[in-house]
Amino acid sequence: MKWGVVTFPGSLDDRDMLYALRDVMEQDAQPLWHKDRDLRNVDCVVLPGGFSYGDYLRCGAMARFSPIMESVVNFARRGGLVLGVCNGFQILCEAHLLPGALTRNRSLAFICERLTVRVENVNTPFTCAAQNGELLRLPIKHGEGLYVAPRDELRRMEDRGQVLVRYVNQHGEPSDDANPNGSMNSIAGVANDRFNVFGLMPHPEHAVEPMLGGDGGLRIFRSIVQSLA
């Protein structure tokens, strides 16, 4: 399969994503540039973390309008796989490819730390290599990761299993203490209702080598590979 990683002005984890995919996962992955429209026949588009356009208005608000996003939206409508991490998640929400929005952490501070998420639904291309309820150690690093969605929408999402990962404590249960940013329902990542677009705040690309704090992120990349095999 082929991966494409988009670089927006202000993307930061684009190089790390390429490193994780190419050097660790030994995948065919190539950079995509925000001013281009050509997705180069990739099978999965990744929107990486960072501060696109400085995130000066709202996170992800401006990136959504870059030329490449037009192609990404069409690609997603045709069922193509799109993964958004951190700022990428924010962009996907702004582009209405995912429901809800991400707002300022309830502590108002940027938070960088490793924590645990629980996989909530393994019947998706992004989680099929994981066990149901599996706990993954992943790092977060963001200032605006508080997930919100209208109540009724949220209920529908929960019913359909669109919440793919949730912040949990050491016993594997969601709790206020284990919720780093105040997200509704401890949501760490959600998929759209067709399950071909997935956004999450934790960074799987920063959890691919035991030496660098663990490899829980491999589950997600392997799922994608497996689903396309």
């Binding site: 208005l57 709202r58 608000a61 401006m62 309008f65 929400c93 702004e94 809800g100 929005a101 707002t103 300022r104 952490n105 309830r106 502590s107 108002l108 508080l146 919100v148 969605a149 209208p150 105040g182």
Partner: protein, 77 residues
């Protein structure tokens, strides 16, 4: 133009400000809400035209309707 968090959406910044003000001794403050204020010049024939234009900017870019409300004010130049 004023962009404010929708009612019902958590406004941690507003809450933090309220808290700080109270601890500074301003006991008569009630709820604080914090939003954005954007000032821009638009070349337009009329106030209506300008408002329409800015409305479109808000819908498209400046405000996110999931979490924010907006309100416009136009001043002639």
């Amino acid at each position: 133009m004023y962009i404010t968090p929708k009612r019902g959406v958590l406004d941690p910044q507003g809450r933090a400000i309220e808290h700080s003000l109270k601890s500074l001794g301003f006991h008569n403050v009630g709820q604080v809400r914090m939003g954005k204020y954007i000032e821009l010049d638009v070349a337009a024939q009329s106030a209506e035209e300008a408002a329409g234009e800015v409305g479109r900017m808000c819908e498209q870019l400046l405000a996110n309707s999931v979490i924010e409300d907006y309100r416009l004010e136009v001043e002639g130049a």
